[in-house]
Symmetry: C2
Subunit: 192 residues, 2 copies
């Protein structure tokens, strides 16, 4: 998506070879109009997948997921990150370990909002190693729902997330695919 | 706001005299169209306040804050909750203690996104004791910006948050004001 790539080039900062900061328009300050265009773009791409729910992980995925859900006319569900296992029979829970941050958390989803008839679109801001998306997929499968696709704003294509998800048979659709980060350089994989 | 009160009566659950669960449309599952109407309502109410930024606290405030920011045509800023103080000169930080949950966290805001020329509208999902809003106000004042108003989805009017904020001279505008919660009962303060 040209608009997002241009924004990343204008305002993103490569901190090192692994970390791209986009906190002026995605992670800390958020541009509502950009999120609206992103949401409409995802909705257009996934329009034939009979999506019934959009799922995201708190908290940076919420803005683009909300706009996608609005454009598709379906509810959004926010998966919560809890520091430790909660005793609650109403919840599906799974441990997610972030290699980037070296931390673990319990990803949780209520049993009340997703069931076997749902076709779920997962939306998140970043895809790197794919741990968060894989955790979300586990929760959606606990509910016997169908994962209908995965929409990502910024994919770090030099990390194995996409490959891991594609090997499980999921479509990953990323708006900006980063080939590599260097001091003052951000390189994209060209759009198909 | 009639629409929100009706939704609370239809789907909200009073767990006890203090806790109202609205996780089917605000906190866990989110209804995008309801959030859009809420955002447009807040934007209408605060339209003459020269708002330049909408600020919220992760993560349940993000959806209504995003829609408000979209309707006002300004950026949204998400204040982050960190478990402990971060060593970073680019951040304003302040400790917030939640009486409800008995926990503390560091509320943080980048220095890059708010300055003395900003008129900031704070949007959050709940107002109870006002700790989170008061923390947000401290951060906004560290930046010498102006707090132009506080917009709340659900106010627990039997708790002192509103009074504390009004005593400091802030306008609190709440879409639904809960007078009391009982077993199977939710009572509202009538709209003026």
């Amino acid at each position: 998506m040209k608009l997002l790539e241009e924004k990343i080039l204008a305002e993103g900062r490569a901190i090192n070879e692994d970390i791209l900061k986009v906190d002026s328009f995605v992670n800390h300050q958020v541009e509502p109009l950009l999120m609206k265009e992103i949401g409409e773009h995802f909705a257009g791409h996934f329009k034939d997948r009979h999506i019934t729910k959009v799922v995201t992980i708190e908290s940076s995925g919420i803005a683009p997921a909300l706009m996608t859900a609005l454009a598709l006319g379906v509810p959004m569900i926010i998966l919560k990150k809890e520091p430790s296992k909660v005793l609650n029979d109403d919840l599906y829970q799974t441990v997610v370990t972030s290699f980037t941050k070296g931390t673990s958390y319990e990803l949780t989803m209520s049993r009340n909002f997703i069931n076997e008839n749902d076709h779920v679109l997962i939306i998140d801001d970043f895809l790197a190693n794919g741990e968060a998306a894989t955790g979300a997929i586990r929760l959606i499968r606990f509910a016997h729902a169908t994962v209908a696709g995965i929409g990502i704003l910024i994919e770090k294509s030099f990390q194995p997330g996409r490959q891991k998800l594609e090997e499980q048979g999921f479509e990953v659709y990323s708006l900006a695919r980063i080939a590599g980060l260097g001091k003052d350089t951000i390189e994209f994989i060209p759009e198909e």
